[in-house]
């Protein structure tokens, strides 16, 4: 504990020292250049060869995905470019560039994903190389953002500021990303491979990923040692699994050896034939955890013994400069702007550094306009004492190190650009994958549904309800879990329903999923027609309110039910089902034509999918 205390204290000292410094006119600049400009030329050339028929379809797809360009719904003319933000870090000049690129080559909006990527959709395939060029100007890449490679290395948006963390894992996440990017050993894995670093149990997603890591400090004979709790073999998908903890404590020197060992085992033994079961979680669960665990230990010993000593993570532990931006004019706010208290409560968290908060920006299913991206870069420069932003886990973005005294002014600025909606940290900000807006596999418009729920719930001010704030709603447009429905308090994945010959959009609902220390997958409840999802969630809230114990949240109440520990009138998912069933009876098409339409569409609903890109 003394180390933790020192850690916090040290940060505090750094803060006060830098506070006295004059703010530099230049904003913070990226420390790491992830880009390689020659990849732009190479991509342009390869697209031309492909169009001339000199490159076969499969090889081209692999190449395209390796460079971070994903396919688009029902067309070969467009791609989605997935820009990686390792550890979720993004700087103001990078936001400005992405803003420009979204206007030039995409739809004038960009999209924050659940894995700390920013996606540009509906990009003409021939323009992708121009995006690479633009990204290279600001040190960003989309390399290995898709395909069978190490995907973006995530880190908690609160790493470094979380009151419950033992140390900041950000430098380790960045070093891991750096080590594996373009590394030959990670270019042709059986399937994609994901790392999630976090700050603490509560804010993590470590059991739902190939490799999940929680920073830990161990005391040995009076001296403290950094290391991690490492979880392996979890992941969300068509079939989801929860990860296993490798050992009690993995010292930091072993971080890279462990990562390499696990990837080597996966590379050697992973299923390269059965495309639907080739993530590492299938290997772990087919083999059994203990056997896999032993293999990792053995392989790690080999790696440790045979790797050259120059094979190391370059962990940059120099702390970020924290300096509060100087206010150019003294524009004190006469009165508290409308909605400030509500926003403060539902969008900000206190940091371990005294007087500072992290501010989460509420977006609708991760979407942001080009002009908002520009505005955000100005707001970072004006208010964030670390001069950059961090992407969150839930299609959002956080500005950290905002001084308590600056929050009102910052809120006013956000209001001006339409980014001051409340509820970012509550159930009213659902996740919705891209669904039928762009994805080949989607069966429903999950993206729009997430927006509809958010609009309705904010109108009802449900973000202010403390009983609901730690719950979550997550929606996927198909069973493949990009919307992470399996770990939602209330999760949905899309499919088609049918009355006679008429189809309607439908969602399988699950209850009780979570991704914290008590990680579990939600239990299947009912299939809910798209146009009944909102009334059904409201009904669940109503049942909860009638049956809750005084200190219950929706999450804790549902947790007891799905685990069979509830003693009130509603004891099981079946009891909930019975109450909900009358709400989901299908009307005839004559009586309610809208029931048969998906959100965002005025033509009759039918399921239509193209080829997935996942198993390329």
């Amino acid at each position: 504990m003394s180390k933790i205390y020192n850690q916090t204290k040290r940060n505090f000292i750094i803060l006060t020292v830098f506070d006295l410094k004059q703010s530099a006119p230049d904003s913070a600049k990226p420390k790491i250049n992830w880009a390689r400009i020659e990849e732009a030329d190479n991509f342009a050339k390869t697209v031309k060869l492909f169009r001339q028929g000199k490159y076969d379809e499969d090889s081209f797809r692999r190449f395209r995905l390796q460079h971070g360009a994903y396919g688009t719904r029902m067309t070969g003319d467009y791609a989605m470019v997935r820009i990686k933000l390792p550890a979720g870090e993004i700087y103001p000049n990078q936001f400005e560039k992405i803003s420009q690129l979204s206007e030039q080559y995409s739809i004038g909006s960009a999209h924050f994903s659940t894995r700390e990527n920013i996606q540009l959709h509906w990009v003409i395939l021939e323009d992708v190389s121009e995006i690479f060029r633009g990204l290279a100007e600001v040190g960003l890449t989309s390399r290995e953002a898709c395909g069978n490679s190490v995907r973006n290395v995530m880190c908690s948006p609160l790493s470094g500021v979380c009151p419950d963390e033992e140390f900041d894992s950000t430098p380790y996440a960045l070093a891991t990303a750096r080590f594996f990017l373009r590394n030959p050993m990670a270019q042709n894995l059986p399937r994609k491979f994901k790392f999630n670093f976090t700050c603490c149990e509560k804010h993590g997603m470590v059991r739902m990923v190939d490799v999940g890591l929680i920073p830990q400090i161990r005391n040995v004979d009076g001296s403290s040692q950094r290391g991690f709790k490492i979880f392996l073999g979890g992941g969300l998908g068509n079939k989801s699994y929860i990860g296993y903890q490798l050992e009690e404590f993995t010292p930091e020197e072993d971080l890279l050896y462990t990562s390499i060992a696990v990837m080597r085992i996966f590379d050697r033994l992973g299923d390269r034939k059965n495309l639907a079961r080739n993530r590492m979680r299938y290997l772990v669960n087919d083999m059994g955890w203990e056997k896999f665990q032993n293999l990792v230990f053995k392989e790690r010993a080999i790696v440790r013994a045979t790797q050259s000593i120059i094979t190391q993570l370059e962990v940059d532990l120099i702390p970020n400069e924290i300096k509060r931006p100087i206010r150019i004019s003294d524009e004190s706010i006469a009165s508290t702007p409308d909605g400030f208290a509500r926003w403060l409560k539902t969008n900000t968290v206190k940091q371990s550094q005294i007087d500072y908060r992290s501010v989460f920006i509420t977006l609708e299913a991760g979407d942001i306009t080009a002009s908002q991206l520009n505005a955000l870069s100005d707001i970072i420069r004006e208010f964030s004492s670390e001069g950059k932003a961090r992407c969150g886990f839930v299609q959002n973005v956080a500005l950290r190190y905002v001084h308590e005294d600056d929050l009102q002014r910052m809120y006013s600025k956000l209001l001006e650009v339409g980014l001051a909606k409340s509820g970012a940290l509550t159930m009213t900000a659902p996740i919705g994958c891209s669904g039928t807006t762009s994805c080949n596999l989607a069966l429903t418009n999950s993206h729009r549904l997430a927006k509809e729920i958010q609009r309705k719930f904010l109108e009802l001010k449900l973000d202010e309800d403390d009983d609901l704030s730690d719950s979550s709603i997550k929606i996927s447009g198909c069973p493949n879990s990009c919307g992470q429905h399996g770990i939602a308090t209330i999760g949905f994945f899309g499919g088609g329903g049918r009355v006679g010959k008429d189809m309607y959009p439908n969602y399988q609902m699950s209850l009780g999923g979570r991704s914290d220390g008590d990680t579990m997958l939600g239990l299947t409840c009912l299939r809910i027609p798209a146009k009944r999802v909102i009334p059904v969630i409201l009904k669940i809230i109503e049942i909860f309110k009638q049956n809750k114990k005084s200190d219950d949240t929706l999450k804790s109440w549902i947790h007891r039910i799905v685990n069979g520990n509830e003693d009130s009138k509603i004891k099981s998912i079946n009891d909930i089902k019975k109450i909900l069933e009358p709400l989901i009876i299908s009307p005839t098409k004559e009586n309610d034509p809208d029931f048969y339409l998906d959100y965002g569409s005025d033509t009759s609903y039918h399921t239509k999918t193209g080829k997935g890109e996942c198993a390329a």
Binding site: T72, I107, S109, H111, W122, E130, D367, G600
Partner: protein, 268 residues
């Protein structure tokens, strides 16, 4: 094809314009609204709001406007706006169409000019009318009939310069999408020749194909594209000046991207 003998200059850079103004060897046209112009403008500029031109852009009317701005056949003209060059392009194209051979676009917008701290004033210059001949350059104009006919030929490229979502929702069949934003850089209305060439090459917009540009309604965004194409020396470019608005009003066929709800990805 008398145009081949003319200078291939498309834009005039800031420094050249300043010296031309000092030499009184140029007519500068400000196409912003009258009120904006009155407030301040580039010294010696005359005002021709785009709306004034569009109220009647018949060659005879345009000729009158040109002579009233004191432009003869030989006087170089530089046009600017504060709308990323699109409005200026539409005016420049119209002058070119009626036969004025020496018209260029200011390389940047008025807003940027001002942000560089360059000179401006609110003086309205005293202009004497000049004679100007009328030689219609119909080879740079595409009408709807012409377009419909041209589309049946192989070597014709039709370019839609509206934003991507508008294109996805509805466009003229066979068109390709090149949003106007793609043409500019942060502070120039057109990207450098080399960058423009690479962009267009990638898209297969090259060589001797006939190229027709169009946009939403009055040929501004596509006017800018017209000059973008000229800037890399593509010789055979036409502007469908009445653009998609007329096309739809004439109930001609359109095409859309099917089976995707792309609008719901927009944060607008």
């Amino acid at each position: 094809m008398c145009r081949l003998t003319e200078s291939d200059k498309i834009t005039t850079d800031v420094d050249s314009l300043r010296s031309e103004i000092r030499d009184k060897s140029v007519r500068v046209i400000d196409v912003r609204r009258k009120d904006d112009y009155k407030q301040d403008h580039i010294p010696t500029a005359v005002n021709l709001p785009l709306a004034t031109l569009l109220s009647d852009d018949s060659p005879e009317r345009v000729l009158k406007l040109v002579t009233s701005m004191g432009i003869d056949d030989d006087l170089p003209v530089v046009v600017y706006d504060d709308t990323f060059g699109a409005l200026a392009s539409r005016v420049a194209w119209t002058l070119e169409y009626i036969g004025h051979s020496n018209v260029t676009l200011l390389e940047t917008t008025y807003g940027h000019w001002k942000s560089l701290g360059l000179e401006n004033d609110s003086q309205i210059p005293d202009i004497q009318s000049k004679e100007h001949s009328l030689h219609l350059h119909s080879e740079i104009l595409a009408t709807s009939d012409y377009l419909e006919n041209a589309k049946t030929r192989d070597n014709v490229i039709l370019i839609d310069n509206r934003e991507r979502l508008n294109f996805l929702e509805q466009h003229i069949p066979g068109a390709i999408s090149l949003p106007y934003r793609t043409l500019a850089t942060k502070d120039k209305i057109l990207r450098s020749k080399e960058d423009m060439k690479r962009l267009l090459d990638n898209r297969g917009i090259t060589g001797n194909s006939e190229i027709i540009t169009y946009c939403g309604s009055v040929g501004t965004l596509s006017g800018l594209a017209y000059y973008a194409l000229k800037s890399v020396g593509l010789p055979n470019t036409k502007l469908y000046v009445r653009s998609f608005k007329e096309w739809k009003n004439l109930h001609k066929p359109t095409e859309k991207q099917e089976d995707a709800s792309y609008w719901d990805l927009s944060a607008e």
